[in-house]
């Protein structure tokens, strides 16, 4: 047991984490592809056509999973950023920076697929529904985080400034969500809801869960890939980076 704890901390250094990330990467990427294919097969071919929404509902398999991931990644990112800020660990901040683009991608994907779904179902690309609006604001928060880090040249300062912003953001996300929710209900009365048929067919649920798992795997793989790049970029002057086979080429 104690051995495992020691190992855990060992991988908090870029030097030891870099090869580990490289070894883990194919597994996560592979399972993302397999799970994604399985989910698409379930969602596109096996799941029954929805009684009210026809074939158009199938975009929900991607949409729901992307929305979940976009929200979850922000919290994880803020967690890594907080670790980096508190314990001053380099790798934690690098993980936060590595997660941000993936989270932005999922937020965008969620908005995009939501618009594609909303046009045939609601007759509008965009509705000022509380969930849509807060997802849009989440997208802006991601962009702010990335823009702030990109604007600061010194990587350590960029890490900490980004961490403060991510923490302020994570405190604000629930406040923003409820403010938008109340604003919306105050203005429009009963608004369109994303909850559909009360009893969802099992195949639909499985398709959705598999897609969520696949997105998890994809997010981890993408973050690992990106964090490897960040590690090499920042540690390019160090001895271990110089000894790598990739660096020698």
């Amino acid at each position: 047991m104690s051995n495992r704890i020691v190992n855990w901390f060992r991988f908090s250094s870029p030097q030891t984490f870099y090869p580990l990330a490289g070894r883990l990467l194919p597994w996560f990427a592979g399972s993302a592809a397999v799970l994604g294919a399985a989910s698409l097969w379930l969602g596109l071919f096996v799941a029954p056509t929805d009684a009210q929404q026809g074939e158009g509902y199938r975009i929900i398999f991607v949409h729901v999973a992307a929305s979940w991931m976009s929200m979850f990644i922000y919290v994880v990112m803020a967690g890594w950023a907080a670790l980096g800020l508190i314990f001053n660990t380099r790798l934690s901040s690098m993980m936060a920076s590595a997660l941000a683009p993936t989270g932005t991608l999922f937020a965008f994907l969620s908005l995009w697929t939501g618009a594609l779904w909303g046009k045939p179902m609601w007759g509008a690309w965009w509705v000022w529904d509380a969930r849509l609006t807060s997802e849009l604001i989440l997208f802006f928060l991601y962009l702010g985080f990335i823009a702030l880090q990109a604007a600061i040249d010194d990587p350590r300062r960029a890490d900490r400034a980004g961490a403060v912003l991510a923490l302020v953001g994570v405190v604000n996300v629930p406040i923003i969500y409820f403010s938008v929710y109340w604003w919306n209900t105050l203005h429009q009365g009963a608004s369109v809801s994303l909850t559909k048929s009360p009893s969802m067919a099992h195949t639909m649920l499985w398709g959705m869960l598999l897609m969520a798992l696949s997105f998890w795997m994809y997010a981890i793989a993408a973050a690992l890939m990106r964090v490897r790049c960040i590690m090499l970029e920042r540690e390019r002057g160090s001895a271990w980076a110089g000894e790598l086979a990739e660096a020698a080429q």
């Binding site: 604001i137 823009a147 604007a151 953001g169 604000n172 109340w182």
Partner: protein, 227 residues
């Protein structure tokens, strides 16, 4: 001349910033006139129908106040950062978060309070009745310090960063949304006869929350910028 205690230090910071603002009046007036002009542009763009104006007034006036106070954010720390005053404050024995709170308070007195005072005049242009004007003033009285507090975090984070003027708007505007929703919502609720109590209470709650946390987060961000 060392201030005796933390209270005196905060007071000295506020006094100094107010004095600096009084010597450079154009900066104060810029924010105020921005607000007035933005609010006056809307009827020209939308049309002078009184019913229409009444219904858009809360939103327009609040968004105008929000943009005006954002315009002033860059000034909050930039000069003190450039001439080293901020560094001296960070080094002083008084708590840095308190001094930051003093700077935010001075900033609000200079760029937020004038907006509150001029808002009823603009509200009259939008054909708001007396009670709605009162709620508008009250909501701005609680809302503009909230905007200054939240904006201070953004201003501190972008201190000395290239393109900070644009960046600060990207960082703070999403965080301004709750203030806008409850602030404009309170006036709207008053007009529609629902009563502004709920919205004003929420706005006050947010203000208390921000009063407690924002100076602290701003001080942390300033320390990062000062490294």
């Amino acid at each position: 001349m060392e201030p005796a205690n933390a209270g005196a230090a905060v007071f000295a910071v506020v006094r100094r910033d107010l004095l600096l603002a009084a010597r450079r009046k154009s900066e104060v007036l810029t924010v105020l006139f921005f607000f007035v002009i933005v609010a006056s542009l809307f009827p020209l763009g939308i049309g002078a129908e009184p019913a229409l104006l009444r219904s858009i007034a809360p939103g327009v006036l609040w968004v105008g106040a929000l943009l005006a106070s954002m315009l002033a954010l860059n000034r909050m720390f930039a000069q003190d950062y450039a001439d080293g005053t901020l560094e001296q404050m960070a080094l002083s024995p008084q708590p840095f978060a308190l001094m930051t709170a003093g700077k935010i308070a001075a900033h609000w007195l200079v760029s937020g309070l004038p907006l509150v005072l001029v808002a009823p005049v603009l509200g009259l242009q939008f054909d708001l009745d007396q009670r709605a004007l009162g709620v508008l003033m009250l909501s701005l009285l609680m809302g503009t310090p909230l905007l200054s507090l939240v904006g201070a975090i953004g201003a501190a984070l972008t201190l000395g960063v290239r393109g900070s003027g644009l960046l600060v708007s990207l960082l703070t505007l999403p965080l301004y949304i709750p203030a806008l929703v409850f602030g404009a919502g309170s006036v709207e609720a008053e007009i529609s006869g629902l009563g502004a109590g709920a919205n004003l209470s929420l706005l006050a709650a947010l203000l208390v929350l921000a009063l407690f946390f924002a100076p602290w987060a701003t001080a942390a961000a300033l320390r990062i910028a000062l490294e």
